[in-house]
């Protein structure tokens, strides 16, 4: 029951990431999805190492979101070459 609720939330957030308009909106939905996946991993693996993997994944996802948000500020509207 708990895993099903979290699973539906994760899939909804992933779909909203795909169909969002603004880039910063995508970052917020991505972060909500990472919360969901970390919780799902802790509920599935019920031993202490499950908590360790959830914490490691969550902090790594926060570091990469930080890097992406910083780069969004530096590259405002990028130029792509049409091949």
């Amino acid at each position: 029951m708990l895993i099903q609720i979290l699973g539906i939330i994760v899939l909804l957030m992933a779909l909203r990431t795909l169909f969002a308009q603004d880039r910063s909106e995508r970052m917020l939905y991505l972060n909500a999805m990472s919360f969901g996946i970390a919780g799902l991993m802790a509920l599935y693996i019920q031993t202490p190492f499950g908590a360790i993997i959830a914490i490691t994944y969550f902090i790594a996802s926060t570091i990469s979101s930080n890097a992406i948000a910083y780069s969004i500020g530096r590259v405002k509207n990028e130029i792509i070459l049409d091949e």
């Binding site: 910063s24 202490p48 908590a51 902090i59 992406i68 948000a69 910083y70 969004i72």
Partner: protein, 167 residues
């Protein structure tokens, strides 16, 4: 206790926990890192409040009380109620320093939610309900409608005297 009622009570408790601790630690006042600045100004451009935008940006870019709450309840579920919260508080402290954030919001959130989980275990709400409740709370802040959520957070920040002075 009925499962749905337990999840809703846990969601309300974790929402109150992380919003109050983050606002008290000054998250809406200024962006901690540059990524939070970008996200905050984008939320303001779409019709929201700047302090609420900085709050949401700080949640994305560095581990704060929301991360502490989720990870402490995951650790309490797998390791056991007081020990798991303390282990999670130590690991969130390391994560804070890894993201170059000098604050203590994550550890404070983890320790306070450990006390709340310990108290709620006497009513029949287990730590697993707190994990799902925390994810539901984050979805109401960052997953539904960003301008409305930022206006609510801005009003809470004003009441506690932590609204931002930047424009």
């Amino acid at each position: 206790m009925n499962e749905i009622i337990a999840i809703i009570i846990a969601a309300v408790l974790s929402w109150i926990n992380f919003v109050l601790i983050d606002t008290w630690m000054g998250l809406p006042e200024q962006p901690g890192v540059r990524g939070a600045d970008v996200i905050g100004r984008s939320v303001k451009r779409r019709g929201g409040d700047l302090a609420g935008g900085f709050f949401q940006g700080n949640i994305v870019c560095s581990p704060d009380a929301s991360a502490g709450t989720l990870l402490a309840s995951a650790a309490c579920y797998t390791i056991g109620t007081p020990e798991g919260g303390l282990i999670a508080a130590v690991l969130v402290y390391f994560g804070n320093r890894l993201c170059a954030d000098p604050g203590y919001a994550g550890t404070t959130g983890a320790l306070s939610i450990t006390c709340i989980i310990f108290a709620a275990s006497y009513i029949g709400i287990g730590p697993a309900d707190f994990i799902v409740g925390m994810v539901l709370a984050i979805v109401t802040i960052q997953g539904l409608h960003h301008p409305l959520a930022s206006k609510l957070l801005g009003r809470i920040a004003e009441k506690m005297g932590r609204h931002t002075k930047l424009t």
